[in-house]
């Protein structure tokens, strides 16, 4: 197993799939000559040429829709958004076109397309560049949504997304691109959609999370360990399809859970998971599930305010202690 960065893992996934299938192409702003705004597609233009690594104008709605049309005509586009904040301009094409092609055509046309790019806050990028948008995407039937949090998951899930015959949203994170980790070798390393992974085992409380928040959850679990609490960290990895089985099994073991997400709480991923778990795991729970999330405000710029707005390991520790009825504050 090689140790590579998250961005290299994404690059490998796309390059391998483009070698495997001539209908796969990459399109987006700065993906070619510039090697990617975050250097994810470094070297790909040279390798695949400008018909398959396509630099676009700044025209998100346009190239997202172009991708959908191309997918209906038999190609398998991988559309990169410089960030998913900019994809909001393209949501008409994602929600009104891509997500509904198969249904409205009565199954005649499908839409094998990937919309990928970073989401969530980096550092001091303020309100318009710091939004965690997974809840919005997950809301729409017809879309699949994955949130890789490690280099291995980035490679395996992106490969699965490109091979999937439905539209898949891949949510990455600026703060993860430099992250190094072990990634299995070989073209066949694919992580099926809909399979969660237990990133850390523990028997006292379950921290449910996804995407880059797994690292906050792992930090929190280390702090809790010093205090004698063993937290289990369940990384959903895929929000739709959702591996409910792994979640409920973990709760059956720990009887307590905290949902950690980067985005806002209202109508968030955690809200849906908690609602689902009160149906599925009611008898297994010894305490109400608590949620840790971003402050319910647009992201501020000032360092201190931004820190206060983001979810933190300390907040997760606090929430875990509360569901364990310890250290009531």
């Amino acid at each position: 197993m090689a140790v590579i960065t998250y961005r290299e893992a994404l690059n490998q996934a796309m390059s391998e799939e483009m070698e495997r299938d001539p209908n796969v192409f990459l399109m987006g702003e700065e993906v070619g000559l510039y090697n990617g705004a975050y250097k994810v597609s470094k070297g790909m233009l040279e390798k695949f040429g400008e018909m398959r690594v396509v630099d676009t104008p700044i025209t998100e709605l346009g190239f997202a829709g172009l991708g959908v049309g191309a997918a209906m005509a038999g190609l398998r586009p991988c559309i990169e958004f410089m960030t998913h904040n900019f994809a909001i301009l393209a949501w008409d094409q994602i929600f009104n076109s891509a997500a509904k092609v198969l249904y409205m055509t009565g199954g005649q046309y499908n839409c094998p397309i990937v919309f990928r790019g970073p989401t969530g806050a980096a550092l001091q990028l303020s309100a318009q560049h710091s939004q965690a948008l997974e809840a919005s995407y997950s809301h729409f039937p017809g879309l699949k949504v994955v949130t890789p949090g490690t280099p291995a998951d980035a490679k395996g899930l992106l490969k699965a997304a490109i091979r999937d015959d439905d539209p898949v949203i891949v949510l990455e994170a600026e703060m993860l691109y430099n992250l190094k980790g072990e990634v299995p070798d070989g073209d066949d390393f694919v992580i099926p959609l809909g399979v969660a992974e237990i990133k850390r085992e523990g028997g006292d409380v379950t921290i449910l999370t996804h995407g880059k928040m797994i690292h906050i959850a792992l930090q929190a679990s280390q702090k809790l360990e010093k205090d004698g609490v063993q937290a289990e960290v369940v990384d959903l990895r895929s929000l739709r399809p959702l591996d409910l089985e792994t979640i409920t099994q973990s709760i059956a073991k720990t009887n307590r859970a905290v949902y950690l997400e980067e985005g806002w709480t209202y109508a968030g991923i955690g809200a849906t998971i908690v609602a689902t778990l009160q149906e599925e795991s009611f008898d297994d729970l010894d305490a109400p599930i608590l949620r840790v999330f971003q402050a319910d405000v647009p992201m501020p710029y000032a360092k201190g305010l931004e820190r206060a707005a983001k979810p933190s390991a300390d907040r997760v520790v606090d929430a875990c202690n509360r569901v364990l009825y310890r250290n009531e504050r």
Partner: protein, 360 residues
Amino acid sequence: MATKEKAKPVEASRNGGAEPLGGLAKEQLHLMLYQMLQGRRFEEKAAEAYAIGKIGGFCHLYIGQEAVAVGAFAALRPDDYVVTAYREHVQALVKGMSSREVMAELYGRRDGSSKGKGGSMHLYSSKVNFLGGWGIVGGQIPLGTGVAFAIKYKGEDKVCLCFMGEAAVNQGAFHESLNMAALWKLPVIFIVENNRFGMGTAWERASSLYDISQKAAAYDMPSAVADGMDVLDMRRVTLEAVDRARKDKIPTLIEARCHRFMGHSMSDPVHGVYRTKEDVEQAKARDPIHTFIVQLRDGGVLSEEELKAIDERVQAECEDAAQFADQSPEPGIEELYTDVYRVENEHGRLFFDRKNRLET
């Protein structure tokens, strides 16, 4: 609020070009007349069915604009693609979908082209490369551009016709698409059906520039104005654009000036606050079917018997389509959850209510 001066009428049609009747054989001319009449009668039948509640939802009729679809499609090969908006029943028929499958879709029945899941605004056929059928004004324009991208990517010599109403021209999607199509030399022909009304807003109240074809200049793209009430002029103009797209991968913007004789949709009267009765009457005086019949008669290629035979065939076909649709069963409730995903992945839950809906 001051608005632009009212439009000048379309210049006299250049019609089919140098040769009389576009140089077309009698069979092809009769086919075009058949298609125009089929479109007209089909829409009349749909209006009847709507009035008695057999068709629901939104239903946008094409009556008055038949020459645009028939003329434009006469310039295509069968394997070329069409992407369009929601006033598309007649376009679907002319592209080769059967009146039965289209009518059954309007009725929301199992034998409809989308199994009753799409309805009037969402007609598609993978058999004849008709890619619908889109309900968000302008949303189909990037899709048509993408189909053309795929054609070029695969090294094919097909083209894509991408239709829109004139109101879509004010959407960002129009400008983004024309820019990409011209920049990347994609084989797409954008046809703007300028029937002068975006629902109830007249074009001169909606656009700072009256001549839509001029907008192509912003993208260094060839453009043309066609008389959308003259099927031969429509074919001639489209053919030039199709040739350019097929041979040289150059896109074109065509403004087809036309009139709808109906309201925006079935829930909207033909004339009223936004359009005078006189305006509608004036438009109807240029009925494209009547115009074409006169052209054919004058050219000596259409007898009364032939016209009668075509009209009877069309009437019978529309009657049959309505009966077929009426007899087709409603889609089964098990269809509710099909076609949401092509692949229901082996792992994980994709639907979050299925348990409540079907298992209880």
